[in-house]
Assembly symmetry: C2
Homo-oligomer: 740 residues x 2
């Protein structure tokens, strides 16, 4: 007799398991370290042929996990990125499922300092309770495992320690040796027919098939049954015809696998079994039943028994009790009610210690970048801002008109928010003074006349983050006050069409140019096409960042703008709503300091980032571009004021209309402005003229000084102002006072 030894499980974790765990933590678990139920799979033990020696080499007693291990069986995906098909699906007909509990710790200190033994003991206690109840399907509890993990999501390193809690007996089970190898080939016991019965049962069984009872009937007959039916199944069957078996993950012929431990403990505790003939089934379950002959089988049979309890040095070896009856299962030294067990997995060096999987090197760096960028944003949802709509922001397509100081800072802030589609438009080339103020260009981009700014900026965005789709378009935007000569008309028409298409293809249009009149056409297009237009402009030490209001209602009363206009502010204004003259040429005949837009260098960073944060606030609001605006809390606000502010707020805070920042005072004014119904940029008359006439209308705006003023009725306004002035008697009556 020799002490029965078991081959411990060797956990084999596919990298997809860690990716799935990462997603699970980021999206669902977040800060929770509650135990989560998971699955693992094992098959009958595999061997491979050592080509050099010709010997069969056992692959060890593998139990495998992958992404599917963490996914719920009701087809709910934890991670949209992972396919629902397990990487080991091919083996699913051969595989036995094991149930486990995963506890993912939040910090490496928590992982290290956790009372692991307590967790183990709890799990074992749970197994014990289940096995000693009248459980009809005890099999799943026999192979319960424990997974303690810590995921370092920044470095893609995963620390883990698995345990396969197994009950023990005192003394341990023994294997009966008679001759050389205690475990004998199954052919020595079963003929082909009976073998076939067994293998067929195993193949067809779904639930609980990792374990079985087997008895030979008269003749060639044989029967199998589930282990919970031990009493009834073996009633009247002599011991020599009783067989207990399990699908054995151990490929080693002479060493049974780990599931046998709890199987024996179960049979002992539940049915008082102290002697058994064991079938270790080591053949592939998927193999068709008919084709497996006993000679080909690698399965083995052996006899085990539990020696009588011996008290050494007077200490009691009484085992745990079940319903008043003593079992042989060992209890904890300090607690006779709870079982003692073994089962911590050893690491590669054979020590009882955790292992680490370093996935960094395995992963495509671009995927690593994607995950890292995503992570940083999703962390917001763990604690600080669970309701933030990140995907809305990231799927917003942004068009940046201007790739200068503002364009570069806006593009970078968009990247930080995970925006994936950015198009930049500019007609200039990178010049030597650009790189120090426009953070997408380097010195070398200035050489040889300079790279085209839009394309250069787009390429740089790609180099920062390969997952972005960045495009650069070199395009001149036609403007009022800069007449288009007839030989340039075709080019201007093409440019306008290109711009129209770009506006169509994006959700948000940023106006980031360095002149007033160049903003006119995109303002009109944004209004006509109902886009969110964000406008930023710089002075020497002040900036304006604003969103344009929703498109105008039609002059017949239908159309957009209703929600914001229900607020007392009405429809919000655009960049031109405060003007009483049409935009004109401000670019020609400028001195150098006027051309260069001299500004304090820090201003563009502040304005550009604020423009993006403004956009993000608008996108959080259910009404989007129609969101009402607020200038924020005041000390004297009424209940209605507070309600108005709430209406114009989101989880992120207020949704402003205009921000005017002043570096000289280091402060910001929040302004709300109404739309002007004679605005040259966004009023109904202009939008409708554009919609009905198209390019010819734009051409007039570019070429004819007075066209926009006449179209909008501004010229009427001048007249009215003059008439008003004439109507008022400005002469002050000279009373006794001296001349004014």
């Amino acid at each position: 007799m020799a002490i029965l030894k078991f081959a411990p499980f060797s956990t084999s974790i596919h990298p997809t398991f860690w990716q799935e765990l990462s997603s699970l933590k980021i999206d669902k678990l977040q800060l929770s370290d509650e135990a989560v139920q998971i699955k693992a799979q094992y098959t009958a033990g595999k061997v491979i042929l050592d080509r050099q020696t010709g010997a069969s080499v056992s692959l060890g007693s593998q139990i495998s996990l992958d992404a599917a291990s963490l996914q719920r069986s009701d087809a709910t995906q934890h991670s949209a990125n992972q396919p629902s098909t397990s990487a080991i699906t091919a083996q699913s007909s051969s595989a036995i499922s094991a149930r486990g509990f995963l506890k993912n710790f939040n910090t490496v200190e928590a992982f290290r300092n956790a009372d692991k033994q307590a967790i183990f003991d709890d799990t074992l206690q749970d197994i014990w309770k289940r096995l000693t109840s009248d459980e009809e399907e005890p099999e799943i509890f026999l192979t319960t495992f424990l997974a303690l993990t810590f995921a370092d999501l920044k470095k893609f390193k995963f620390y883990y320690w698995f345990a396969y809690p197994a009950l023990v007996t005192n003394p341990p089970w023994e294997i009966i040796e008679d001759g050389k190898d205690p475990w004998k080939p199954i052919s020595s016991t079963l003929d082909a027919a009976r073998c076939g019965v067994l293998s067929t049962w195993l193949q067809q069984q779904s639930a609980g098939r990792g374990f079985f009872l087997f008895k030979i009937s008269s003749g060639t007959d044989a029967q199998c049954a589930r282990i919970s039916s031990y009493a009834a199944f073996f009633d009247g069957v002599p011991e020599t015809e009783r067989y207990i078996g399990f699908v054995d993950p151990s490929g080693a012929v002479q060493t049974p696998g780990w599931p046998l431990r709890n199987l024996l403990a179960y049979l002992q505790a539940r049915f008082g079994v102290e002697h058994a003939q064991i079938i270790c089934w080591k053949d592939d379950l998927a193999q068709s039943s008919g084709s497996l002959s006993p000679d080909q089988s690698r399965s083995v049979v052996g006899q085990v028994r539990l020696p009588a309890s011996q008290s050494t040095d007077g200490a009691s070896t009484a085992g745990l009790e079940v319903q008043g009856r003593a079992t042989r299962i060992t209890s904890k030294p300090n607690n006779p009610q709870e079982p003692s067990g073994v089962g911590w997995e050893r690491n590669v060096q054979g020590k009882l210690a955790p292992k680490v999987a370093d996935l960094g090197p395995l992963m495509d760096p671009k995927k690593l970048a994607d995950q890292a960028v995503d992570l940083n944003l999703k962390l917001m949802r763990w604690r600080i801002m669970p309701e933030i709509k990140l995907e809305t922001i990231q799927s917003t397509r942004c068009l940046l008109l201007g790739a200068g100081t503002l364009g570069c800072y806006v593009a970078r802030a968009l990247l930080g928010w995970g925006v994936r589609q950015i198009t930049l438009v500019d007609s200039a080339k990178v010049s030597f003074s650009n790189p120090v103020r426009q953070p997408l260009f380097d010195f070398e981009d200035c050489l040889e006349g300079g790279q085209p700014k839009a394309e250069c900026a787009a390429k740089r965005l790609q180099r920062i983050y390969p997952g972005v789709e960045a495009k650069g378009v070199s395009l001149s935007i036609p403007m009022p006050g800069h007449p288009v000569s007839s030989n340039m008309e075709e080019q201007a028409k093409a440019d306008v069409e290109r711009l129209e298409k770009l506006v169509d293809e994006h959700h948000v249009i940023y106006l980031l140019m360095d002149s007033r009149e160049s903003r006119w056409l995109p303002t009109l297009l944004g209004a006509a096409k109902s886009k969110l237009v964000i406008n930023a402009a710089l002075g020497f030490d002040s900036y304006l960042v604003m969103r344009h209001g929703a498109p105008p209602a039609s002059t017949d009363g239908t159309g957009a703008g209703k929600d914001a206009s229900s607020s007392w502010h009405g429809r919000l204004g655009c960049y031109f709503c405060n003007d009483v003259v049409a935009p004109s040429d401000s670019l020609t005949d400028r001195t150098l300091d006027q051309m260069c837009t001299v500004t304090r260098p820090g201003l563009a960073a502040i304005a550009g980032a604020s423009a993006v944060e403004l956009m993000v606030s608008v996108l959080q609001h259910d009404l989007g571009v129609h969101a009402p605006a607020t200038a924020g809390e005041t000390s004297k606000q009424s209940v209605e004021d507070a309600q108005a502010i709430a209406d114009a707020s989101t989880v992120l805070g207020i949704v402003p209309h205009q921000l005017r920042g002043f570096l000289a005072q280091f402060n910001t004014l929040r302004v709300v402005g109404q739309a002007y119904d004679r605005c040259t940029g966004c009023s109904a008359s202009v939008v409708e003229a554009y919609r009905s006439i198209g390019f010819e209308m734009l051409l007039k705006a570019f070429n004819e000084d007075k066209y926009l003023e006449q179209l909008t009725g501004l010229d009427q306004m001048y007249k009215e102002a003059e008439e008003l002035e004439a109507a008022v008697d400005w002469d002050v009556e000279d009373d006794e006072e001296d001349g004014f």
Copy 2:
């Protein structure tokens, strides 16, 4: 007789002239287009030997300008970058100076549209007036020239048009031909001795030597004189012995140079000369007098005369009048008081049009970058902010502790302000989530484990602007709450020494790290070494940007801080002044979202740029780190308040203490906080302990929980607070009211 033809001047401009003009415009002229007096130089006409034909080829009638042309002769440098030595100094002993007027226009339109003829006429009128007065030194006026320029400082293109105004006569002067070549070698007229007299005089003369009178005395004698002494010098001298001469820039033997025009006009108008023997001196003045023999001389002599005035078709050819006497100098058709003239230089194609010098290709791109970056900043001084102290900012050495989101944005803003020395310190490597939020890193910097952040950031700064001196230092900063084990003490000491040295070597220290306790040591060092410390910290959607106050006065009453402490605020506080506990370990056992400092992506750009603008404001103040602070204007301020604000302001605006920005409200609070005399970071007890004990004191701070609290007396404060609490009777008497 043939009409006398003259070789026009050919302007030769050395590139240094344009660089000097650029500097002059940027630094002095700025927007002014007032005429500026400048100089040019010419020599006796050069010829070179055509090696192929053996013939002598005249180099044309060159007049040269370089940087020295724009520099004042009293050694005042217009540009510190240009050497005071003219590039053509070597010729100065051979060269004749010409005086000119430069008018540099502000825009290309102004250059094109200027009334050039009017400017020309004014110059000619000025010449005429001078020549017809009793001017003793008329020579300089004979060669007055005009330079009209436009400098495109962005593209390094210079547009220019020179004119050499010359008076004309009607009819024109004629050259007397007798035989083949009207201009005869000087040897035909003068012997060696007389030639020697002339060449000696020319060589030794300084003022006015471009022109001369020459007469032969009896025998071998000869004499020279200046032209204004014509009447006296030639009194009694027969015409055949009178010679008038000039240093002739024309190398062509048979064509005299341009200066002869005004010389003849002068002699005619002033002295009524209508016939003369002209010596065109074409020999190098620097050649020693004795060595020039007439046969070697290239100088020539010829006879010219002014034909009698002829009225054709009845038009008057009466010339201008001088003191009632008619001259032969032609007046303008529509203005008999003003002279008419010629002299616009033709361009390469022979047209009367401006020329352009494109210096872009000639210049070292790095110099171009330097100039471009400088330009953008100096433009501030043209109109908007003439008093801004740019050089102070640019020579400030900045140490950035932390190369993360804040570090990268601060570094970029410093570049924009022209700061030339930036050192970054960080102990980490670039990771995959960094590039989209930290604008000095690209995707490729993350590969292979990631580049060290500090060095990588410094390299990128260099790639943006080669003129910056950027350095990266990988260094871990020891901190309180993170005990240094004894085997790490040596490393910690070395790290501290390295940090001390870095603090010593810089003017401004930026604290841009991601934890509270890491800021403690640099805060103390900054206070101990009287540096300007700027602190920036990020929350999820709020930021703090502040400057630390001046160092503490000694506990004995001496020392710093007096100016700010004279304001009611007293000494301004540091980052730790509001704490009542010493900094402790906040880094260990953090969950991922705590580790990652989750922030709204636009925040770092706003905070980083604001930190730099705050520094710039402090640097503008005369008191620098001692500047008092203000929270800005309020609606209810008193006269004293207004004065306090003015004391804490510069041309750029207010100098704040702390800025607290809130993205949820898009607003910023300006806060002024006093220093705390029990502060663990900057109070006198801590600073003095550090100064007297050094590293051992720091080690205690790192290792011993209570050390700083005991050192500063915070522990006393706890005691006092407890005693106070005990002393107060907190029990509220229960009156008729119900339980509280």
